[in-house]
């Protein structure tokens, strides 16, 4: 099991280093092959580890291995530890499996880019970092992975470094992520100060036994939540995700849909004992999730960029996962993470095929009627959309409804508020997802779309390397949900349970009743979107509301006014008031003083021989006098 895990972790790193060191000695195509192969080798390793764990007793599926002591400072020791347990195995399989498919897709999508080698090196590096995050055997290694995925995300969002908007988006993502990292690190400092250790076992035992005071536990949980919220693009740290769509589409699929942004959910499930010891913080996570899923859902209604709509839907779906983790349904949250990885990666990759087909066009107003020219993409995109909305028997149906019914099962004002919020979210999902689908694939071909499609009809919808991953993901999106059928069998939940025992257990009846509501609302959403589309109307027409949504509820403007501008004003003030006159001026004074001193000294050098002789004579005379007098 451990060998498989090591192979899984090190293969992408080896791929990254190989591409890095080979430089221009390998062709771009070879770089792509190396990168793809390394991730798939990682997948094989994960599969071996998974099968080994599967064959064991459920209580014996956790293994912690220490390679060597990585850090040592007095009493404080951190080992380079890998933790392989059901939770990390699920993440390893998602990261390498979906990741491998997306890297394979990149071979076709990125063909002809100037800096393909760099791209593939970054992709392998990202997969390694993400694996480090999920396999890290203690909080510090988790933080290392946490930081590295942020770096990989920054590098890949800014891949098109000649585009100002891409560079700005990369910086924004990095800064917000770094903020989350810093909040998390503060929490870890607190734990080190109180416990002297960052091992999962020590921290969880302390949280469960009540060894830590309530304040400390609450602060630690808040710090973890802060990191999770920033990484998973939840309100209020969500503004970077839509901008991150500046990166290449496969990057959006891998990092900003399937894996990295779901790390926050993984973190909450992994550290659930801390959150359970601070229930208020855990409920806060659920509330944040609900607010995010609603806000992202309504903002998605008015977006025109195909990738931004999907990005908002990602935020919204991660909101569901936060609700799930927040009410304590860890298995369901992870299950939604799992199915979401399939259908969201599928949506992004299918959108990538559309963008590829239309030569980089991303505005859905300029698309339309692609159903006939891109039949394959149409079918797969539709599967992804319906899975997203939660139409049975596609995967989203099983996973999303499980979370909603868990919220109901929690009960109380909070539980039912979450329940209603999630159901409203289901309606919104139907609206924005189908709006996107109709705009892209139905109706008359828009003016811009037709000629490009005709001109490039010869290579169809894309090379095989793009079609195969999309087909695999479409099949996955369709059937992955069958791993969990309430009342029939629940292997996924039983798999996760030993690591994270859920706090709520919705009954089978509650589950199906909730599904009835959710599917009805989703269908109403689809119907309304269809009505609006056929009538040529927009979904949101009221002027004020529309303006508000188009400005994404002014979050960017707010942060600009509250943080960015004051910071700039302080910087400019310091430059003008302090650096200019004091630092720079002080140095100038020193330099000028030296110059003046030198000028005075050089004036004494007359060059006249007799002056020097006189000076010598006088000094000798004075010296002689001094000797005489002192005697």
């Amino acid at each position: 099991m451990i060998t498989g895990a090591w192979v899984c972790l090190l293969a992408p790193l080896a791929g990254f280093l190989a591409i890095l060191l080979a430089g221009t000695r390998i062709t771009r195509r070879q770089a792509g092959i190396v990168s793809t192969a390394s991730v798939f080798v990682g997948f094989a390793g994960a599969l071996v580890a998974f099968l080994d764990a599967w064959s064991r007793d459920p209580d014996d599926r956790t293994e912690l291995t220490t390679a060597w002591t990585w850090l040592k400072a007095g009493e404080f020791e951190v080992g380079l530890q890998l933790l392989v347990d059901p939770l990390s195995l699920v993440m390893m399989l998602i990261v390498t499996g979906v990741g491998g498919l997306i890297v394979l897709y990149s071979n076709g999508y990125m063909a002809g880019e100037d800096e393909e080698r760099r791209y593939f090196a970054y992709m392998a590096f990202f997969v390694f970092s993400m694996l480090m995050l999920v396999m890290g055997g203690n909080l510090l290694l988790l933080l290392v992975g946490w930081g590295l995925v942020g770096l990989a995300s920054y590098l890949l969002i800014g891949y098109y470094h000649d585009r100002t908007s891409a560079v700005a988006a990369a910086k924004k993502a990095f800064v917000i992520n770094a903020l989350g990292d810093a909040i998390m690190a503060l929490g870890f400092f607190l734990l080190v100060a109180k416990l002297g250790s960052l091992d999962f076992g020590v921290v969880f035992d302390a949280a469960e036994s009540g060894e830590l005071s309530d304040t400390v536990v609450t602060l630690a949980a808040l710090a973890l939540l802060g990191g999770a919220v920033a990484k998973s693009a939840q309100i209020p740290f969500h503004t970077w995700l839509p901008d991150a769509m500046e990166g290449p589409t496969p990057v959006s699929a891998l990092i900003h849909a399937a894996t990295m942004v779901t790390a926050g959910v993984y973190l909450i499930c992994r550290t659930h004992p801390v959150f359970e010891a601070a229930p208020d913080v855990q409920h806060l996570a659920a509330i944040i999730g609900m607010v995010t899923l609603l806000v992202a859902g309504v903002v998605a209604l008015v977006q025109w960029d195909i990738k931004r709509v999907i990005a908002y839907s990602t935020m919204s779906q991660i909101g569901y996962m936060f609700v799930g983790a927040g009410v304590g349904a860890y298995g369901f949250a992870m299950f939604h993470l799992f199915t979401h990885a399939f259908f969201k990666a599928l949506l992004f990759l299918a959108a990538g095929m559309v963008i590829h087909h239309l030569h980089g066009e991303q505005d859905i107003r300029k698309m339309g009627g692609l159903k006939s020219s891109m039949p394959f993409t149409h079918v797969t995109f539709l599967v992804g959309t319906l899975a997203l909305i939660g139409i049975p028997p596609l995967s989203g149906f099983w996973s999303k409804d499980a979370i909603v019914s868990s919220a109901g099962a929690m009960g109380g004002v909070l539980g039912w508020t979450l329940y209603v919020g999630c159901l409203v979210g289901a309606l919104l999902t139907g609206l924005y997802a189908m709006r996107l689908y109709f705009y892209v694939f139905r109706g008359e071909p828009a003016a811009g779309a037709a000629p490009a499609a005709a001109e490039h009809g010869h290579h169809g919808e894309g090379p095989q390397s793009m079609k195969i991953p999309v087909a695999v993901l479409a099949v996955g999106s369709a059937i992955a949900g069958l791993l969990q059928i309430p009342g029939v069998w629940e292997p996924f939940d039983t798999w996760i349970d030993p690591v994270a025992e859920p706090l709520v257990h919705p009954s089978v009846a509650e589950d199906y009743l909730t599904s009835l509501f959710a599917v009805t609302l989703g269908t109403i959403g689809i119907y309304l979107a269809w009505r609006a589309f056929t009538a040529g109307r927009e979904l949101v027409r009221a002027g004020g509301v529309r303006t508000a949504l188009e400005h994404k509820l002014w979050f960017d403007e707010l942060y600009d006014a509250v943080f960015s501008r004051p910071a700039q004003a302080i910087a400019v003030g310091l430059r003008d008031r302090f650096e200019g006159p004091v630092v720079q001026g002080g140095l100038d004074e020193v330099a000028e003083g030296t110059l003046r001193g030198a000028a005075a000294t050089s004036a004494a050098q007359t060059g006249l021989l007799r002056t020097y002789a006189l000076a010598i004579t006088i000094s000798v005379a004075v010296l002689a006098l001094v000797f005489l007098v002192v005697r």
């Binding site: 004494a604 050098q605 007359t606 006249l608 021989l609 002789a613």
Partner: protein, 102 residues
């Protein structure tokens, strides 16, 4: 032992030295400056010999010989310089050489 006492020798030595200093400081011709230098050296020689006599030691006289050797060398260099200046038709005036002015 007869003749004038040591103080006389020293007085003459001091006078010669002062004359030398005045020559170096006041005259502009390099030749005269060189001569004045020689006078100063010989004033010190006189003092050496006088003290040697006073204390009955030979050290002073040995030193006087060494000073003569130095003086001879110095005159060689000095005269060489002056000849070089004259060859280039430069003014024989120490005040006209001020290239070292800062």
């Amino acid at each position: 032992m007869s003749g004038p006492g040591i103080p006389w020798y020293l007085a003459i030595s001091a006078m010669l030295f002062s004359i030398g200093v005045a020559g170096v400081l006041l005259r502009r011709s390099p030749l005269i400056v060189l001569l004045s230098l020689e006078i100063m050296l010989n004033a010190s020689n006189l003092a050496f010999v006088g003290f040697s006599r006073l204390f009955g030691e030979m050290d002073g006289q040995v030193f006087a010989l060494a000073v003569m050797a130095v003086a001879a060398a110095e005159v060689c260099v000095g005269l060489g310089l002056i000849v070089a200046m004259a060859r280039r038709n430069l003014a024989l005036d120490v005040d006209s050489f001020t290239e070292l002015r800062g």
